[in-house]
């Protein structure tokens, strides 16, 4: 691993910025290149084959920027095509599913774990498989939450309507008695307050972003891949649709310098 190269990250849009934010906190000196496929988002309602096609294009674009490691920050892409990406490309590729599952297993006391995500993420069974392979006694309950992303993008994170939607989606998980809930979509941490209110008190909410960042630091340390210099980190952003909306919504996640955002065609 060439320690002076950047870390590449892609997502369907702005959601992966939650992962980038944690990367910046855990590995502040590293250069980062973020790609948001804003012209074709969302991925969570598309078929696995289409998500794979887009993920390969995203990964190849970032590889052309000469990165040392690739983070698939999108839960949908992580859950449907990580093995194919790893088989195709020659650098380490990290998804968000396994770090999230590991954190949930470590946290749960009663072994009853909920997973919420997009249609394609939940239907892939990736979280369920990751949890069972870590602990075959896990009781895993899942729920697709199609309205959560639109509610975040509408800016209604703490709205009473969002709380009603969260109650509708989460009551079945509450009734089963989960003690840990994986927020299996990068947008969902922004709904922590509504989700926390809708689910039973004391249920641990697992946000994969932090766990993924910690895992990446471990991998890079082991591979001797941490950046050596103390030069200020470079942060570049690429998007497939016009940048203005990405910058506007993205700034709710972390500060983005508009001069570092560039539109590309994939």
């Amino acid at each position: 691993m060439d320690r002076e190269k950047a870390i590449g990250i892609f997502d369907s849009g702005v959601g992966g910025l939650t992962v980038l934010k944690e990367i910046i906190e855990v590995l502040p000196e590293e250069d980062t290149i973020y790609l948001g496929d804003t012209a074709r988002l969302p991925y969570g309602t598309k078929s696995p084959a289409t998500v794979l096609k887009y993920a390969l294009q995203n990964a190849r674009f970032l590889l052309s920027k000469d990165i040392k490691l690739l983070i698939v920050a999108c839960n949908t892409a992580s859950s449907t095509c990580l093995p194919q990406l790893q088989a195709t490309l020659s650098i380490p590729i990290i998804g968000v599913i396994e770090p999230g599952a590991r954190a949930a297993i470590a946290r749960s006391r009663n072994g009853c774990i909920g997973v919420i995500g997009t249609e394609t993420t939940i239907n892939s069974g990736a979280y369920q498989q990751a949890l069972y392979s870590l602990n075959p006694n896990t009781h895993c309950v899942t729920q697709i939450c199609p309205l959560f992303v639109p509610l975040v993008e509408e800016g209604w994170e703490t709205d009473e309507i969002t709380l009603l939607v969260a109650r509708r989606y989460l009551t079945p998980l509450r009734e089963v008695g989960i003690d840990t809930l994986i927020l299996g979509c990068t947008h969902y941490p922004r709904l922590k307050s509504a989700i926390g209110e809708a689910i039973a008190e004391g249920v641990a909410l697992i946000d994969s972003a932090r766990e993924t960042a910690l895992e990446i630091r471990r991998i890079m340390e082991k591979a001797g891949g941490l950046k050596s210099g103390k030069v200020d980190p470079q942060r570049y952003y690429y998007v497939t649709d016009q940048p203005d909306k990405f910058i506007k919504i993205g700034n709710r996640f972390l500060p983005i310098d508009p001069s570092q955002v560039c539109q590309i065609d994939l």
Copy 2:
């Protein structure tokens, strides 16, 4: 116009099936070819430049199928790129904006007309321009309704949550005193009951689909383009993502024969 050719229709997904349904009622003998760009939907949150790029690809694909007339069933694409499509392609191209605006002007008594639609449709100003050019005294009030499409796709058309969302979006239009409301997105007619309950009683809801179908019949009659034979009509569907979800949700709009649905790559 070669009367034996088919009518082409495109939309970002299933919504344009509301227009196809009216075409089938008004012109039952015509062959139709429908394209839903399901791999890249929605269009309503994307920039006009990206929507134009996709619309041109859709139109060129349908032209390669040798159609006699093209209907842009998507409000977002109609509102952002109809002139460019008309300038580029050599067959008649009809959008849904002008028929909807004309019907609203004919219906309104007090000249105060509301328009609801996606972000890109409303921000284009196309409905506003169409209304003013038909009647410069029109008072036009607009509202972006980002959650309406996700609520329809979730199947919550008559849910109490949908009614709350409709009240939130429509109260400002109600307070202004509109007497006519243009449903400026092909999904919205499916929310007629919630929209009707949220807006003042007696407000006329204008669904462009019927008006568009009637306009197309007029144009084809004038051009001598109506199909001459009494042969059973052919109905073909093309989608850019896997067909199963299109067929499942599309069947809520009109009956779709799965053997007539084909996936393509644009």
